[in-house]
Symmetry: C2
Subunit: 306 residues, 2 copies
């Protein structure tokens, strides 16, 4: 079995969407990434940090899904990171109400020996400095390093971010971030500029308008988003997308464009399921047959004979 290592936050989220409102539920990037990846035959390994207040039951739920949590540091007397936000009517924009970093503020990622030598490394959206430290703490370079980031780091530490991007193989950002990072409006031009930083693939996420995959040879692939009748909560959809991508590609152990295309579909499947319930609920209860069913839906959605 190929090894997938994930670093990313574990947090409490309080979420309000047009479909409802939650108290503190489990959130952060890493549970979405790990759970989504777990459906494709890997046993994802997670590096993160939590406070004493984090429920052991959730860690057990992750373990039951095959997620290895030996890299999750539990800080005595510490408080778990907390985020709270409200989505607009369209659910394509959200306003952050509260961000309390808590134990995440002093996070120093350590790699347990049994987590060394991963085939694929997924760097969830955190400080580019921590992302880089993690790469440097590995004994061998993974075959594929995937990195998520956001506009916040483009604004606050562009040089740190640039340094880190130059160390990875795949970057996942949204369309606005691609425009900001490249200074180009047309995504084809933006992709060329960003790929020139040394990436193998660039993934541009467009929310409910799908995702684009670019490589440095100029190949392009587009995965639509599945039109959904009911969206409960888009929180974690991007992380679930990244998780499906990493889980699929790690399990295949092939890092070419053709495999990346199918991995993007795996990501889209997990992103679409994620939105149907609040938080990680849907990802905790999916079945293999549901995953296969949705892959088939994606195949059908764009298939035509001219």
């Amino acid at each position: 079995m190929n090894k997938l290592l994930i670093v990313g936050s574990l947090a409490f989220d309080a979420i309000e969407t047009p479909a409802g409102k939650t108290d503190k539920i489990i959130g952060g990037a890493s549970p979405y990434i790990a759970l989504a990846a777990s459906y494709f035959g890997t046993k994802p390994q997670v590096i993160s940090v939590i406070g004493e207040d984090f429920p052991k039951e959730f860690i057990e739920q992750l373990n039951n899904k095959g997620v290895q949590t030996d890299g999750v540091q539990r800080i005595k007397g510490g408080k778990t990171m907390f985020w709270s936000g409200v989505y607009n009517k369209d659910m394509n924009q959200r306003t952050t109400l509260v961000t309390e970093l808590n134990v995440f503020g002093d996070f120093k990622p350590e790699v347990p020996p049994q987590f060394q030598n991963p085939d694929v490394l997924m760097l969830g959206n955190i400080t580019p400095t921590i992302q880089r430290q993690l790469i440097e703490n590995l004994d061998t370079r993974p075959k594929l390093i995937v990195m998520d980031t956001m506009n916040y780091w483009m604004d606050s530490m562009p040089e740190e971010l640039d340094k880190t991007i130059r160390m990875v193989d795949v970057l996942t950002i949204n369309d606005e971030e691609a425009r900001q990072l490249s200074g180009e409006y047309a995504l084809v031009k933006a992709a060329k500029k960003i790929l020139a930083l040394g990436l193998r693939f660039l993934i541009i996420k467009k929310g409910d308008n799908g995702a684009l995959l670019f490589d440095k040879e100029g190949q392009t692939f587009f995965a639509p988003a599945l039109p959904l009748e009911n969206v409960a909560d888009p929180t974690g959809a991007g992380d679930s997308f990244a998780g499906g991508f990493c889980g699929y590609i790690a399990q295949k152990g092939k890092y070419d464009f053709e495999t990346a295309k199918a991995a993007i579909i795996a990501g889209s499947v997990m992103g679409s399921y994620c939105c149907e319930k609040f938080g990680t609920e849907k990802l905790l209860t999916l079945t293999e047959s549901e995953v296969n069913q949705r892959v088939a839906q994606f195949e059908k959605l764009t298939k035509f004979t001219f």
Copy 2:
């Protein structure tokens, strides 16, 4: 050869986009629809109205592309419709500066005898009343009636619009218009409500985010937009899309979901080419091999093996 009848405006446009600015060039819905349709083996027939100031050379250019213009009324002493607009930086929004209806204000569409009994009728975006008159002026009901409309008619004459929609088979609108018309945010729900007006197909256009096709049996197809490196002018892209759709489906003479899927791709091909130059320039100079090339690009763009 199956017959495609088109009704729609012929106009002068003055356009400003981030890529440049034009004086009065030829615009309006019908030249885009007819030129786009002409690439799929039909000889589109156009019903429209122009003033004495409209250049005969452009009519000849249409004729050279196989477009039949016997239904274009030239009004002595009249002035051709004029529209002027400016696009924003993203080219996904535009501000209308001037609309002078001129001869279009008194337009009474007449159907020349040789234009009777069309297989497919395409109603370009004009007053729903005129669209309905045109249907009523036909000796036989076409096998497929396709209708374009816009939010302006939803605001100004919702009852007239509703009456006309109930007479057609295919409606093409954009995502915001689908939401406005249905009162539903999720496009899947919006589509169900709109299809219940008696449509066979609903096409929801999402600009540079592609287009969705829905039928009343709950089938869905998604056509991406081709990521373009250079967009000169999006004017007429929606009409070119409709033209490609109508031209393809008229030529096939089959009006089922599978044919409609391919027709949506034909439309997407023409819409994408349209944007590459100002006005109708690109559609006047395309070659068959360019059309086939782009169909192949669309096939490749979403193809994957899981």
